[in-house]
């Protein structure tokens, strides 16, 4: 039975302000919802999905599974071994894409990877091989993997292997190359290839030996700590990188590799503030994959971009992608680069926002508020806004400045459509032209129309 008549009246109003004012004039405190109509043309789908009796329990289960997942770094392996890739098989970020529509940075990274694998000598030849089918492209997300920016992965690149001990499920991500002219931003010059060779020849093996000797590293625990140390795990990974180095360095030293190699590896990791990004991403991927395929769940389990299209996948719609044009981020540019040099949004790194880190946890990372309008108040507002479109608050990832409130967890398609508030993504910006590399970093949102499309598909499955 309702307690309505047994407690003092607490009133929430949504709609005509007249009634809120009338109640206030009778000395009642009123919480007004700043209601506005949902995205146009979505009323029927919203009502259908709202009325889906599976939804509440399905979403609760999705949230439960994400939080139950523990991501342990258990090994470091070449992609050929980890994923069984052949020399002619390349993975890339984002939803599937035809070569004809592939963006500059994605093309540049594919060209560099083809050179790196020795499939071609001249990077310009790679295009013909993709067109004639010799080289195949497939999304990382279809192989339990994620890749930042272009996200191109080939057989000889080494990957972090993360495992959830409870279920034995795994997720994979390549090693981070650092900033500037790097493959993931579409650069493929000789220095880029040279760095990749060193990473495969030295960095990967050193890390493998260190991880195997140290034993599994709890990446979820590092994520929880770094969020309290000023990182949001997308555009700032400084504390996470240092914690990883702290854990692995002793085992690196005793790995049997030369002091020169260990020193170079330690300097490379410590000198790249984004090194941990490639562990944060697969940790998010592992957790979110556990929430896939729950009938009736409206939770987003992946947001990813290939430089042309922005795609989302939703728990209740299995492996379908809902895609729209990727937007050009707004933000800060390196050197003399400007908006005309930037490629539209690219990379699987929005998996961090999908779990509620990155742009969603902006309030935890005041050091990088320059990306969100410049003030700490903007950062707080950003995170607060994301609570509007999420299902829960993370039990482990807590934001100190919000009184240790959990980060906004589990993007709900229905709430995005109802409020029109789009997920806020922190991101790097790649040059539009293949071979350029990074040109800046900033903020971006998905194209709005993919959320009504996902909602429609959810409504069709009731």
């Amino acid at each position: 039975m309702t307690d309505l008549l047994r407690r003092d009246l607490t009133l929430i109003t949504a709609g005509a302000d007249l009634f809120a004012a009338a109640a206030e004039s009778q000395a009642t405190s009123v919480t007004r919802v700043d209601w506005a109509p949902p995205m146009p043309g979505t009323e029927a789908d919203l009502a259908a999905v709202a009325g889906d009796r599976r939804r509440a329990a399905a979403n609760a289960e999705a949230v439960r599974r994400v939080q139950a997942c523990r991501a342990m770094l258990v090994d470091v392996l070449p992609a050929g071994e980890a994923l069984g890739l052949e020399a002619t098989q390349l993975l890339h970020a984002g939803p599937p894409i035809d070569w004809a529509r592939a963006s500059g940075p994605l093309r540049g990274a594919v060209m560099g990877a083809a050179v790196f694998e020795g499939v071609v000598d001249d990077p310009e030849r790679a295009s013909d091989l993709v067109v004639d089918g010799t080289l195949t492209l497939d999304p990382c997300h279809h192989h339990a993997a994620v890749g930042p920016m272009a996200g191109v992965v080939s057989r000889s690149m080494w990957m972090f292997v993360l495992e959830d001990p409870q279920t034995g499920r795994r997720a994979y991500c390549s090693l981070n190359e650092g900033l500037g002219k790097v493959l993931r931003y579409g650069a493929y010059s000789p220095e880029v290839i040279e760095r990749l060779r060193w990473m495969s020849g030295t960095l990967g093996p050193v890390l493998q030996a260190a991880v195997r000797s140290h034993g599994p590293v709890d990446i979820t625990a590092i994520l929880a700590q770094m969020v309290q140390m000023g990182d949001e795990a997308h555009n700032r990974n400084r504390a996470g990188t240092l914690m990883l180095l702290r854990d692995l360095l002793p085992a690196m030293v005793t790995s049997g590799f030369s002091a020169t190699d260990v020193s170079a590896a330690a300097a490379f990791i410590g000198g790249n503030d984004h090194f941990f990004l490639n562990l944060a991403m697969p940790a998010c991927k592992l957790a979110l994959d556990s929430a896939r395929n729950i009938a009736g769940s409206t939770m987003v389990v992946a947001m990813a971009r290939n430089g042309t299209d922005f795609g989302i996948q939703v728990s209740g719609t299995a492996d379908l992608w809902f895609t729209g044009p990727a937007q050009v981020p707004e933000g800060l540019y390196l050197g003399s680069y400007g908006p005309e040099d930037a490629n539209p949004d690219i990379g699987d790194s929005a998996i961090t926002e999908t779990i509620g880190l990155g742009g969603f946890a902006m309030a935890a990372a005041p050091a990088i508020v320059k990306f969100v309008g410049g003030t700490v108040a903007d950062a707080l507002a950003n995170t607060r806004r994301m609570y509007e479109i999420t299902l829960a608050e993370h039990a482990v990832f807590a934001v100190p400045v919000l009184d240790f409130r959990g980060t906004p967890l589990g993007i709900d398609v229905t709430k995005v459509v109802r409020t029109g508030i789009l997920p806020q993504i922190n991101t790097g910006m790649a040059g539009r032209v293949a071979g350029t590399g990074q040109v800046g970093a900033g903020l971006v949102t998905p194209p709005a129309e993919i959320f009504p499309a996902a909602l429609h598909a959810l409504a069709g499955r009731i």
Partner: protein
């Protein structure tokens, strides 16, 4: 030289009542000819065209249009600045203004609001097609919900009430116009004293009539829980009525419960009566229809059960003339008041045509004129889609008043005026003006529903109507009988 302005503000939103107030206040400025500040719905774009204002292209129903015609550029500029002031005042009221700290944004969904408040009562008055989504959000957040919105399908209503039953919550509505909870009047409500009577109402204006008659008799109310006009239909099966009865039965301040409903399904009414017999608190029924007691009679019965003397209900009848040949025409803002009047008239005359007919074969389109007894509920879903309720905006009803008054076959006009919080602040003045424009010999009978402490001043409103020549009653049933007495049935 007139000056015109029309613009689309994409994504700006305000509720229709607020926008109407903005339009009205700006139109009253000197030198301003026509103003429409409204969401760009088809209806409003039509209005814009009708006002001879330019219709901007490419606007969707989620965009705000601001259109003004003024005598000159100076008046136009003043009008536009007044529009902006009025709109920003409204944003200030909801805490969403640009001046506030960005970190203190108001919640955008019911669910997020409830995370802060804990269990609450959520009053949903968004346009009907959106109401279900908000109401489900409220229930899933552990809140009871009052749905003022109409145009909610019966399937959605059942789904909401089933979800509420599972969670031990109460759904009041949809189309729940009034409620009293914790001494606070919600929706269209009255200033009532606390007292021993609890009300369960599958009828908004029916509850208002009973509550106001109790007020006139000096009896207060413990709570009034609306359940939606369809709750006692066969489809809905009285789900919320049972939940509300349980809550009132457990309430120590409630000594007597009155169940009020629009014409119910007989089987459901019988089942609810059986359920009421299992409660410790006595239950009185005021179910409109057939030869059951009308609202006034049921209220009198309840008063006697409480040991309270039944007063003479205040009325200001004029001198009744000879009965006239022709038809009785009722123009109502309150659906249950219309039902009650139709029930009384049908017992006297037979068929009464309506958009909410007592029998299916008496159904007519409310825009049609008929050569018969006729009563229209202007608060019905079809006539409120995209526009405010007739208790707030009497435009449609007054237009029809003029048309019926000009029809020589109209023997008598019967109206209701519902006062209280949320209602028009001076509805009597508008009706009085219409009466003065009507033929002097045409009798006009009005029931005024209001409590003694309501903001409009019920006796003042009655006087305005009486002075215009109307016969005024506070009992709708008495008004209906008086009107029937003035009609000689035509064949």
């Amino acid at each position: 030289m007139t000056a015109e302005h029309a613009e689309v503000r994409p994504g700006a939103y305000a509720d229709s009542v607020t926008l109407m107030q903005v339009s009205r206040s700006v139109a009253a400025l000197p030198g301003v000819g026509a103003v429409l500040v409204a969401m760009a719905t088809e209806l409003n774009l039509g209005l814009l065209d009708g006002m001879g204002l330019p219709v901007p292209s490419g606007a969707s129903a989620n965009d705000l249009i601001v259109a003004v015609r003024a005598e000159d550029e100076t008046s136009l500029a003043a009008a536009l600045s007044a529009v902006d002031d009025a709109l920003s005042a409204r944003r200030g009221a909801t805490g969403g203004g640009a001046g506030g700290a960005v970190a203190d944004q108001p919640p955008r969904t019911v669910g997020l609001a409830a995370r802060d408040t804990g269990p609450a009562l959520v009053l949903v008055s968004v346009p009907g097609q959106h109401a279900f989504t908000e109401a489900i959000d409220a229930l899933e957040s552990g809140c009871d919900v009052m749905i003022f919105s109409d145009n909610v399908s019966v399937e959605q209503e059942i789904a909401l009430k089933e979800a509420a039953d599972e969670r031990g919550l109460l759904v009041m509505g949809p189309d729940c116009g009034t409620a009293v909870v914790g001494g606070v009047g919600l929706g269209f409500s009255h200033s009532l004293a606390p007292g021993p009577v609890g009300v369960v109402a599958a009828s908004g204006t029916g509850a208002q009539q009973v509550l106001c008659l109790l007020d006139a008799a000096g009896v207060g109310v413990s709570a009034a829980l609306g359940v939606g006009g369809r709750d006692l239909s066969a489809d809905v099966g009285g789900r919320s009525t049972r939940a509300a009865l349980r809550a009132l039965d457990a309430d120590p301040t409630t000594d007597l419960i009155i169940v009020i409903s629009k014409p119910p399904a007989d089987a459901v009414a019988a089942e609810i009566r059986r359920f009421a017999d299992t409660l410790g608190t006595p239950v009185e029924f005021a179910l409109i229809g057939g030869d059951r007691p009308d609202l006034t009679a049921a209220t009198e019965h309840a008063l006697r059960r409480l040991g309270v003397a039944v007063p003479r209900w205040p009325s200001w009848p004029g001198r009744a003339g000879e009965p006239r040949a022709g038809w009785l025409r009722g123009l109502f803002a309150g659906g249950t008041l219309c039902d009650e009047a139709m029930t009384i008239a049908a017992l006297r005359f037979g068929a009464v045509y309506s958009n909410i007919p007592l029998q299916p074969d008496w159904l007519i389109d409310p825009r049609d004129r008929v050569d018969a007894h006729l009563m229209i509920d202007f608060g019905d879903d079809e006539l409120t889609r995209g526009r405010p309720h007739p208790m707030i905006d009497q435009t449609l009803r007054l237009e029809r008043f003029a048309a019926e008054a000009a029809d020589e076959r109209t023997a008598v006009l019967l109206l209701d005026v519902v006062l209280g919080h949320g209602a028009h602040l001076n509805p009597a003045a508008e009706i009085a003006a219409a009466i003065r424009d009507a033929p002097a010999e045409l009798p006009v009978v009005v029931s005024v529903i209001g409590a003694r402490a309501d903001p409009q001043d019920i006796s003042g409103q009655a006087r305005i109507l009486h002075d215009a020549g109307a016969h005024v009653f506070t009992s709708n049933a008495e008004a209906a009988r008086f009107a029937c007495d003035l009609v000689v049935a035509t064949e």
